[in-house]
Symmetry: C2
Subunit: 276 residues, 2 copies
């Protein structure tokens, strides 16, 4: 059973699951936006990552979730787990990486814990807000919408982008403010997998075109590699009005969950963190 | 370097650190209250704990943090880390334990993640609220205040209380509403250690009396065992007005950080999760 199936089975009684963040009522002006992401040694990073990169990636994964909703991150709490023999200087440098990126995006670190465990892990929890009723969900794509992505895809593991990516907070906010976007998410598991989440949530299909997908390497990499953390979104033809929109790469159709590449069905090939 | 020193060194630039939860401005009526707690195999529980107890304890540690501020928990996010070979039925039972206790206290589970890692871990993040400006902190104890605890202390590991304790949310709320309490926290590291946190934050001292400490076993256990998750608080002599108040066990003095037991200095002996 893969990660998504296991989470679905275990969280059948949850509210608001399925988007990058949970969106909850706060007051008359704002909705509250909540998310959490783990970063685990030998799963999300290896010994090649520098301590600063580990801190950067842990925080930026959460910031990217906020970007994907068009939301503003405000507060972070971070649980750090480290083996008893963990070098203290390494921990300090991880916190420096955290500190640098949270300051740049004006997010306060307000709590967390440091505990002993068998591997190095960071669990980052984020709290933010979005003007009431305006969060961009996965569920709003409509037949006829075009499909966009904020940057070229593929090879993020090979190139090191997965450790150094920039969360697309400004673009996420601008896209929400444009009022044109019908659905949005960030690309963590690859275009082919993540687009299917939008199709399922919106009960629509899509046809994408290999020549129009912005790529860092091969088509295969652009379709199936994960961890680009670019924004994937749908909406009408917004042309040159929005700086975040690269060339559109496909169209939403009215055939639920059917995904075509250049007219032929596209095989699924998801990267899953958890298999049992 | 122990847990508290390491956290202090690493979080020197944080705001609002030191209390059981971070308290942050939300709107004109409420402050936002945030906390996180890890629960790690072979650190916070062993193979003797049932899966339901693991889920219960993970959530109740966080609920106890809210109780300690007199705050109301609203939302939880839970990151679960499990080895690839983890039995799926065990995970289901952990979620059942989570579900049972969060429903009883009317708290919504709104998100989280399931990831692969070397040991079983639960990272619980909690979001709640408290009427603006009324959160009970560690820093308000005044010379002449009496010291109270909501229940007998010691032996929580031996008795299994550490897996089955009830978070004192009702009493925390009632104590806040009484307007009489000057400082409060929950007892996770033992009376001797946790009282010192109040003394430090409030810049006061204390004298406690062995005969008046409510005990489950020996005096030594009542002073130094952790994980009772009772509320420790200070205030004037509230006598029989408050159901949460057992007999007072000591008095706050004007001698900063001096802790006396029956007139003699009390040795420190903290349980620390993290040593390097």
């Amino acid at each position: 059973m893969g990660e998504h199936a296991a989470i679905a089975a275990l969280t059948a009684n949850l509210k608001a699951v399925g988007d990058d963040c949970a969106v909850l009522p706060m007051d008359a002006t704002y909705d509250m936006v909540l998310t959490s992401d783990p970063l685990i040694e030998n799963v999300h990073f290896t010994a090649e990552a520098t301590p600063e990169q580990i801190g950067h990636k842990a925080v930026c994964r959460v910031l990217s979730d906020f970007a994907a909703m068009g939301a503003e991150p405000q507060y972070l709490l971070i649980n750090v787990v480290a083996p008893p023999e963990q070098n203290f200087q390494t921990l300090e440098k991880i916190y420096e990486g955290i500190s640098k990126v949270r300051k740049r995006f004006d997010v306060d670190l307000v709590g967390g814990d440091l505990a002993q465990g068998p591997a190095l892990e960071l669990h980052v929890f984020g709290v933010g807000r979005v003007p009431k009723g305006t969060a961009l969900l996965r569920s709003g794509a409509k037949p006829g919408d075009l499909i966009y992505v904020t940057g070229p895809l593929g090879g993020a593991q090979k190139s090191g982008k997965h450790l150094a990516f920039e969360p697309r907070l400004e673009w996420g906010n601008a896209l929400r403010e444009s009022g044109l976007v019908t659905s949005m998410m960030d690309i963590s598991d690859g275009l082919a997998t993540d687009l299917r989440h939008i199709l399922k949530a919106s009960n629509v299909g899509a046809e994408i075109f290999s020549e129009q997908i912005p790529k860092n390497g091969t088509l295969e990499e652009a379709l199936y590699d994960g961890e680009d953390f670019e924004l994937l979104f749908t909406g009408p033809d917004i042309g040159k009005e929005n700086p975040a929109a690269t060339q559109w790469l496909g169209k939403i159709t009215d055939r639920p969950e059917e995904l075509l590449l250049d007219g032929a069905p596209l095989a699924g090939k998801a990267f899953e963190h958890f298999r049992s």
